[in-house]
């Protein structure tokens, strides 16, 4: 049983490798373990598709926002009051 536990990654470990894989080169053991885990784990397969999508979202989703008018007025008051 212990050997099998050592062979099979947990989902926690698998998702961490999915993240590291992007930036670092996994060693061959890690690559094989991850492949095996993804073969049997649907949830982590979905995660492995969603992780690069999230990266694209971080990069491209730019909520355009202006400072609220109220905050600007407050600021101008503060500046005037320091006269």
């Amino acid at each position: 049983m212990k050997i099998i536990q050592k062979l099979m990654l947990s989902c926690h470990q698998a998702t961490l490798l999915i993240e590291k894989k992007e930036e670092l080169r996994l060693n061959i053991g890690e690559r094989m373990q991850l492949k095996m885990h993804l073969l049997v784990c649907n949830a982590c397969r979905n995660y492995s598709k969603q992780s690069p999508l999230l990266n694209r979202i971080f990069k491209n989703a730019k909520p355009v926002k202006n400072m609220s008018e109220e905050a600007k007025v407050r600021l101008q008051q503060k500046l005037k009051n320091s006269e």
Partner: protein
């Protein structure tokens, strides 16, 4: 006509530059309240240092430089404490069971969507923004440094004064949390 006092002049700068500076502050912190505070501090500092402004650069450049200092100061302060206390709120145990596998209710489900339409959709951007604000500020700062500024892990670890292990823990947990937040609130799975 009376010449403007420096207070009056700096007040007009708010109209001209506050949105621009605010946009830059949000891009670096993704926290609206924090961005407001940083912009306010910038203008107050500009007023104080007004006499030193030698018109060698434009007003915009000068204010931006002050803002960048304020942002750097903030992160230095945030990183100097052992600031992992507030990250306890997003623990791995929320997502994984005692075998370290996904809890049933946390399992990533399949997302059906049109990716192209996503980035222009204001509703999505709003939800994305509120998900991002749920992360500890240090975490979102690291995500932004990695994905928007495209800094590598070595540089980020140096600037944020964290170890490589911490870096990966943060990236890992932040992405797990963001994924969950978007699955729950946008993809409604």
């Amino acid at each position: 006509m009376e010449p403007m006092t420096k207070e009056q002049l700096v007040t007009t700068w708010v109209n001209d530059y506050a949105d621009y500076l605010f946009g830059r502050a949000i891009a670096k912190t993704s926290n609206e309240q924090l961005a407001e505070d940083l912009v306010q501090d910038t203008f107050l500092a500009a007023l104080e240092a007004f006499d030193k402004f030698r018109q060698e650069s434009t007003v915009k450049t000068w204010l931006t430089a002050i803002l960048n200092h304020k942002i750097a100061d903030y992160f230095r302060k945030v990183n100097s404490k052992a600031n992992f206390a507030n990250t306890k709120s997003i623990e791995y145990s929320q997502f994984f069971d005692s075998n370290d596998n996904w809890k049933i209710e946390e399992r990533p489900r399949e997302w059906l969507m049109n990716e192209e339409k996503l980035f222009d959709n204001p509703q999505f951007l709003h939800i994305y923004q509120s998900c991002l604000q749920q992360l500890p500020t240090q975490w979102s700062a690291i995500l932004l440094a990695k994905f928007i500024e495209e800094k590598n892990s070595k540089k980020i670890c140096q600037e944020m004064n964290i170890s490589t292990t911490n870096y990966w823990q943060i990236i890992h947990r932040a992405k797990i949390k963001m994924r969950q937040c978007l699955q729950k609130n946008w993809f409604k799975q």
